[in-house]
């Protein structure tokens, strides 16, 4: 076989393998590491709650899909179906307490149990939005100061 044909076949093979690896890598790329990801904003629970309550459209544009660090007084820890939710209750609404709710990451559940209700804490999470009663965050973790 001529040298240039050999080279072409090798290059094509390398190209195909690279493309396949890239495709597999993109398809199977992992979720972000929410615990180590840098926060886009850092604010108090009342500030983010007020931002959504006063102008949901602007607040959604600003915070939805972002990582937010919240420093406030922990008012409640809810447990449901193996999920742990840290709550910053800010007001009593028509349907009970309203505020900021953060569903904690699996590895954070035990750490959160060591924090007392009424203690000031900084939590970080991914904002999914405001549902007319609460600001909702997922993938929550504790920020060690």
């Amino acid at each position: 076989m001529k040298t240039w044909i050999k080279t072409l076949v090798i290059l094509a093979a390398i190209g195909m393998v690279t493309a396949t690896m890239l495709f597999v890598f993109v398809i199977n790329k992992s979720h972000p590491d929410y615990e180590t990801k840098k926060a886009d904003y850092s604010l108090s629970a009342i500030d983010i709650f007020n931002d959504y309550s006063e102008d949901i459209q602007n607040a959604s544009k600003k915070y939805n899909g972002k990582i937010i660090e919240i420093e406030s007084t922990l008012t409640e820890i809810e447990s449901s179906d193996g999920q742990i939710i840290a709550c910053f209750v800010l007001k009593e609404g028509v349907f009970g307490p309203e505020g900021v709710r953060i569903r904690m990451l699996e590895n954070q559940k035990n750490i959160l149990k060591d924090i007392a209700i009424g203690e000031k804490v900084t939590l970080k999470g991914y904002v999914t939005g405001y549902n007319e009663t609460d600001v909702i965050l997922e993938h929550g973790s504790i920020v060690v100061q």
Binding site: G65, S80, V94, F95, R103, G129, N131
Partner: protein
């Protein structure tokens, strides 16, 4: 949504049952792959006298196995930046014949408006309400046609996403004054 139920709240607060930790699962079965996603922070409320039933879910709260699927779901299909939530506002059809203060499992149908991707459609779905010592467990499985809600699936991934998505709703509601 939940506020809609609140209009008659002054009548009796004890007739309202709510949760903020309901679960919605959706499941797509297609030739190329099955796709499943969960949301565990679903807001829901039921009025056991009028039969009003509502739920609201934030689309960005759905968790997929693969990050790329989650990205496509939010950015290309449900466009969660434009339409951040889905909601259902309806009524339990058989409410007059039910006594949800008594333990038991009740087969019901629910009629109302389901809004996804900014499109509202009238729906009527079956489900069960299980009353267990003051807790109401609501369960329903139904199918949603993506085309009905103007969710456009590109031809290149049609083998990956079903035309009808199976939606499972599981909410455990407790009396508001609890």
């Amino acid at each position: 949504m939940i506020l809609t139920l609140g209009f008659s709240l002054n009548i009796s607060i004890a007739q309202k049952y709510t949760t903020k930790t309901g679960t919605i699962r959706f499941f797509s079965v297609a030739p190329a792959e099955n796709i499943e996603a969960f949301n565990h922070q679903v807001n829901s409320a039921i009025d056991i006298v009028t039969g009003d039933f509502v739920f609201r879910v934030l689309m960005k709260g759905f968790r997929f196995e693969k990050a790329l699927m989650q990205e496509h779901f939010n950015e290309n299909y449900v466009e969660s930046h434009k339409f951040p939530n889905a909601k259902f506002i309806g009524t339990i059809d058989e409410m007059k014949e039910l006594d949800l203060t008594k333990n038991g499992i009740y087969e019901v149908s629910v009629s109302g408006n389901l809004t996804i991707h900014g499109i509202t459609k009238k729906v009527k779905e079956k489900g069960t309400l299980e009353v267990k010592y003051g807790i109401i467990l609501a369960h329903s499985v139904f199918f949603v046609k993506v085309a009905d809600y103007e969710i456009k699936i590109p031809k290149t991934v049609m083998k990956n996403i079903a035309e009808s998505i199976e939606v499972t709703v599981d909410v455990s509601l407790t009396a508001l004054n609890n």
